[in-house]
């Protein structure tokens, strides 16, 4: 029971991180109907920028941890969102209206480029980070096994919830959100009605990148080590989360992320660690075969 609870907490934390990345996929897919293949790399870049920002702040003498974290969060979101903008500008915008495969290839090319760009600039070795936030609550104790919820895990879950609430409000109430929803329904019609489609798409990429940056910062804090190769697997898993929840649906992405996190945590806890990635891919395949619209998605109408 205690073990189960502990895996539940670990899974929720991991799931929050996947959910944040998944939102980037689901928003971009909702609007332009394409997978942003470089999104995993954007998340990796977010993690690197956060580690650099932490080091720079440390050198600058900011010792108050909450202040440092807030500053790092803002800088990371800012710089990573520019990477998101650049990916759209370079890999997607010149190819708008081309055959579907073309943007996919250019996005894969961008992803390979970014991967090697970070590897060359920052080195291939993993970057260690000493834990900033230590300690936690002991929730439950039985038979020498205690269930712990660390402050960091709590922070990750709370920040994720807050960001989710914030983004849902933005999409639901602001004019930007209205433009995004309009583009999602019919991009050509939205353009005719005076929505600046290019700008909406750019903003969407930037918002997705900013959320991926938060996920990157959290992963840096949570695992304490970052390397240039984390983007690929996290990207595929987050995409799985987006599909599982129903692509195009924001709450779906979050739900899918949490489910994927839980599946991974329980699989590693009760079965084999080596095959935990296989479990995630298997879930993806099963979902697509039996419920292609995902848990909260709308069925896609086929037009002839």
């Amino acid at each position: 029971m205690a073990y189960f609870l502990q895996q539940l907490i670990n899974g929720l934390t991991l799931g929050s991180i996947y959910g944040l990345i998944a939102i980037g996929y689901t928003m971009v897919y909702g609007i332009i109907g394409m997978i942003n293949f470089a999104h995993g790399e954007i998340y990796m870049i977010g993690a690197f920028i956060s580690i650099i920002a932490l080091l720079v702040l440390g050198l600058a003498g900011v010792t108050c941890v909450p202040l440092a974290l807030a500053l790092v969060l803002l800088t990371t979101m800012f710089f990573t969102s520019i990477y998101g903008w650049a990916v759209e500008r370079v890999a997607y915008r010149p190819l708008r209206g081309s055959p579907r495969l073309a943007p996919l290839i250019s996005a894969i090319g961008t992803s390979i480029f970014l991967l090697n760009y970070v590897q060359i600039l920052q080195g291939a070795r993993g970057k260690p980070m000493p834990p900033l936030i230590q300690g936690g609550f002991t929730l439950y104790e039985s038979g020498g096994f205690s269930v712990r919820l660390s402050y960091l895990q709590l922070l990750i879950i709370l920040v994720t919830l807050a960001l989710m609430a914030g983004f849902t409000t933005v999409i639901a109430t602001t004019s930007l959100g209205r433009a995004q929803r309009a583009c999602e329904q019919d991009i050509g019609m939205a353009a005719l009605l005076g929505v600046d489609v290019d700008r909406v798409i750019s903003t969407t990429f930037m918002m997705g990148a900013a959320l991926a940056a938060v996920a990157g910062l959290m992963v840096t804090l949570y695992y304490g080590v970052v390397d240039f190769f984390i983007g690929f697997l996290a990207g595929v898993k987050a995409f799985t989360a987006a599909v599982l929840g129903g692509i195009g649906s924001l709450p779906g992405a979050m739900l899918g992320g949490i489910l994927i996190g839980l599946i991974e945590a329980f699989w590693s806890g009760y079965f084999t660690v080596e095959y935990k990635d296989v479990s995630v891919f298997a879930v993806l395949i099963l979902v697509l075969v039996f419920r292609p619209t995902g848990l909260l998605g709308r069925p896609e109408l086929e037009k002839v």
């Binding site: 897919y29 109907g33 394409m34 997978i35 870049i45 690197f48 920028i49 650099i52 920002a53 080091l55 720079v56 710089f79 520019i82 500008r89 370079v90 890999a91 010149p94 190819l95 081309s98 055959p99 579907r100 073309a102 996919l104 290839i105 250019s106 894969i108 090319g109 961008t110 390979i112 480029f113 970014l114 991967l115 090697n116 760009y117 970070v118 590897q119 060359i120 600039l121 920052q122 080195g123 970057k127 260690p128 980070m129 000493p130 690929f232 595929v236 995409f239 799985t240 599909v243 080596e274 095959y275 990635d277 296989v278 891919f281 993806l284 395949i285 697509l288 075969v289 292609p292 002839v304």
Partner: protein, 442 residues
């Protein structure tokens, strides 16, 4: 664009305003580059020992990057302005190469074939060049195999490397555990890979487009993870070594013959040279690649090939015409996988050693890039793209660490230049005789 530059020439005030706009545009690009480069280029983390990290600044790099982007963007815009968009000469040549019936295409094919056959014997050729040629040919085979799935049937497959891996491991395991030789194992490699193709094809029959891409990517990763972790059979991360080399109709390539056996050089009474094996392998792969090409070209003219292309264009119409999409898709997956399996078998015998390292997602992406850059559906396009993408990183070995960076950038640049691929042209596979005459004389 043309109208704008014409006006600019007449009106100097307007022209100067245009130049200001160009400078502003380049300035904005440079600003974006500065912001992009600042965190990752401007600061470098390094180990200070004891598991801690230090950070040092490199702002001069940021300045160089920004200046380069400014200059590059300005040049690009000026070039655009000076040469109004028109059909350039290279476009015409590529288009005529793409039409497989044109004279130029026939001549180019013939010349390429002669060159490929003569390559190992040319005065400037070396063992390295023959080896590179072998690599290119393996990728050409993979490209043609994937072309069946992506180019003809229109099914986007991002996990093609799985079948390549299955072919390679099938041969390696058959050779290790049952003692089969290359020629005996080759058919099994293809068959087992085809079996995997059909089995993996089943669950994804209903999917299309990007969903299909991500599921096939998942399959590719599952196969790789299984190969990596199923150590008792696959050797895990250490892979399988000592894979036998192919023999020339039973004559091995070795300096000294094993018991009761004649070697290739003894049989023909020539001097032994280590290059003989490399050249022989090159010809084996060339021959198999040509067979693959003939095979796919013939398939296109069979009902099944026509059904693939029909399915690519419109699945709903296909169903209405009584084509069974299940069989058509599964056959495309199966045949594509079989060709991948053959290529895997060749790869294994060439390397003599395989491990899961060789079958990563980057490999799948490279093969897909070859097909798409070549112009999906075009056989010559695949060859051109394979030569380009395989030799580009090879030439780039001088700046070893930058080669994958350049590879990624080249993928983006070529897609931006020709979104439909280098040779984007679709020959109608069937024409009505009367219509074709009308169609040809405008």
């Amino acid at each position: 664009m043309t109208a704008a530059s014409g006006l600019a020439a007449e009106n100097p005030a307007r022209a100067s305003a245009d130049w200001v706009a160009e400078l502003k545009d380049a300035g904005l690009a440079a600003l974006a580059a500065t912001l992009l480069a600042l965190p990752l280029m401007g600061f470098q983390t390094y180990d200070v020992g004891g598991g801690a990290l230090g950070v040092r600044t490199r702002f001069d790099w940021v300045a160089v990057a920004a200046a380069a982007v400014f200059a590059g963007r300005l040049m690009l815009r000026i070039c655009h302005r000076l040469t109004p968009r028109r059909e350039s000469r290279s476009d015409g040549i590529l288009a005529s190469l793409a039409a497989s019936t044109s004279r130029l295409a026939m001549q180019a094919t013939l010349a390429g074939l002669v060159f490929a056959v003569a390559l190992p014997f040319l005065p400037f050729s070396s063992r390295y060049l023959t080896d590179l040629g072998t690599t290119v040919l393996i990728y050409v085979m993979l490209g043609w195999g994937l072309n069946v799935v992506v180019g003809l049937a229109g099914l986007l497959d991002l996990g093609y490397v799985a079948f390549y891996a299955v072919g390679a491991y099938t041969f390696a395991l058959l050779a290790r555990d049952l003692g089969l030789t290359f020629w005996e194992a080759l058919p099994f490699s293809g068959l087992i890979a085809a079996g995997f193709g059909v089995v993996l094809g089943f669950p994804v029959l209903r999917l299309r487009g990007d969903y299909l891409a991500i599921v096939t990517l998942g399959f590719g990763e599952i196969i790789r993870i299984v190969l990596l972790n199923w150590s008792p059979v696959t050797g895990g991360p250490n892979g399988i070594s000592d894979i036998p080399r192919p023999s020339f109709f039973g004559l091995p390539f070795a300096r000294s013959a094993p018991e009761g056996c004649t070697t290739f050089h003894q049989f023909f009474g020539i001097e032994f040279a280590p290059d003989q094996r490399v050249v022989f392998l090159y010809f084996v792969i060339l021959a198999l690649a040509l067979v693959t090409n003939l095979f796919t070209l013939r398939l296109r003219k069979l009902p099944i090939g026509r059904a693939w292309e029909a399915l690519r264009e419109d699945e709903v119409a296909c169903r209405a015409l009584g084509i069974n999409p299940t069989n058509v898709k599964l056959s495309a997956f199966g045949i594509g996988a079989m060709l991948g399996g053959f290529a895997g078998c060749l790869f294994a015998t060439r390397q003599g050693f395989i491990s899961p390292e060789s079958f990563t997602f980057t490999e799948s992406a490279t093969i897909l890039a070859i097909v798409v850059l070549g112009g999906a559906g075009s056989q010559i396009g695949v060859v051109l793209a394979a030569i380009l993408l395989v030799s580009l990183p090879e030439l780039g070995r001088t700046f070893a660490e930058f080669r994958m960076l350049l590879f990624g950038a080249a993928m983006v640049a070529i897609m931006a230049w020709r979104p439909r691929g280098l040779l984007a042209h679709r020959d109608p596979s069937l024409r009505l005789a009367a219509h074709s005459k009308q169609g040809l004389s405008p």
